[in-house]
Subunit: 227 residues, 2 copies
């Protein structure tokens, strides 16, 4: 079958809100987070969950130049570079914002809670990338990508792997190598779509019966996030 | 149910090759067109199907500056502007190339046969757009988009329509209007995904049972086309 129900090792979790926004359909736009008041940070970071690492708070506050309490696209890029994630493509930044934004917020921006979830997720994808970037070149070839997905319990069809990798082909036809940015993007897409599928295949049979509405609602968010 | 099996009126057809490339999975990269030799054009246009309108041939040949017999991304943009389709976004150009390219060709480029198919498809989407752009403003609002899809037999979930339209929201929250470019993109995505779904729902029940492999193989092409 296409994936197992063994959850060790597993890919980093998607935000609760992303699962919810897909599940509650029409109510997506009315979803609101339950913020936990923080005891340990300055008033400007009162929205951060308790025990958020100070470095995460610092990267957020340094990047939030207009002190809006939210990060827009360019502010998020700044915050991530403060955190050692330089050179993440606009495409990936937008995709991350789309997945991690509060669905109750009509603007494409991240608040503290969403940023912490994103930050933790990136750290986990980073450690997976480093595990498979065996020669420490900062690049992962297609074999390593296949291995990484396999060990995350994603047995992807060859065609799907070919298509994902083909995005990063420079046209020379030589062996394509993925940087962390590309790996992150592939991983989030595969993880996201697989989670959607698993919701409809609770018995892990490898098959799911979907209505047209559910099918379209599951997929369109992944496509439109590339605005 | 989500869509009817009445085919009048219907959305412009996707290229045969796009349906085939999805169906034959692993063989996608080995798919090859059966070109029909043309009797009526110069040797440089021998690859054009018979009865291709001379304007189409002219727009192709004028844009194919390096006489390669193929249009790359910028050449296609040029060819389309010769044909009255100015200002089509890079994103849409890439999406069109991805859908209309010969899957047997590892490069993202269009030959004469693929260009003719694309050209005919654009003409049909254009006439649909004009029908719903009632005030001839060159813009279509979300209500008109919903009507257009409805009359094309696509009963889309509200969430899906909201998400598609939200791509074109400038953030002011005012009524979003779609230009032809945006309408074309929405239409191609909805048409493409619905065709994929219908292949798995031959009885038009509105439900389809998909394996994980099929599910992923159906969707990834729509996502990766936005490289």
């Amino acid at each position: 079958m296409a994936y197992s129900n063994a959850y060790e090792p597993s890919a980093p979790e998607l935000p609760e809100s992303f699962v919810e926004q897909q599940l509650d359909g029409e109510n997506r736009y009315h979803y609101a987070y339950q913020y936990q008041p923080s005891q340990q940070f300055s008033s400007s970071s009162v929205m951060f969950p308790p025990e958020t690492h100070p470095d995460i708070v610092r990267s957020f506050e340094s990047a939030d130049r207009d002190r809006s309490g939210f990060l827009d696209e360019s502010e998020l890029r700044q915050a991530l570079s403060f955190s050692g994630y330089e050179g993440i493509s606009n495409r990936t930044i937008r995709f991350l914002m789309f997945i991690y934004k509060n669905p109750g917020d009509s603007l494409l921006r991240l608040g503290p809670k969403e940023y912490v979830e994103l930050w933790n997720c990136l750290a986990q994808w980073r450690s997976i990338f480093d595990r498979y970037d065996r020669d420490r070149s900062g690049k992962m070839n297609s074999t390593a990508l296949r291995d990484a997905f396999f060990h995350l319990d994603y047995m992807l069809p060859t065609l799907v792997l070919q298509l994902m990798i083909s995005q990063f082909d420079d046209g020379t036809g030589k062996n394509v190598e993925l940087c962390f940015d590309s790996f992150l993007e592939c991983g989030m897409i595969v993880k996201g779509l697989t989670e959607k599928f698993k919701e409809k295949d609770p018995g892990y049979t490898g098959y799911a019966t979907l209505s047209y509405d559910v099918f379209m609602s599951m997929i369109i968010p992944f496509i439109v996030s590339y605005d």
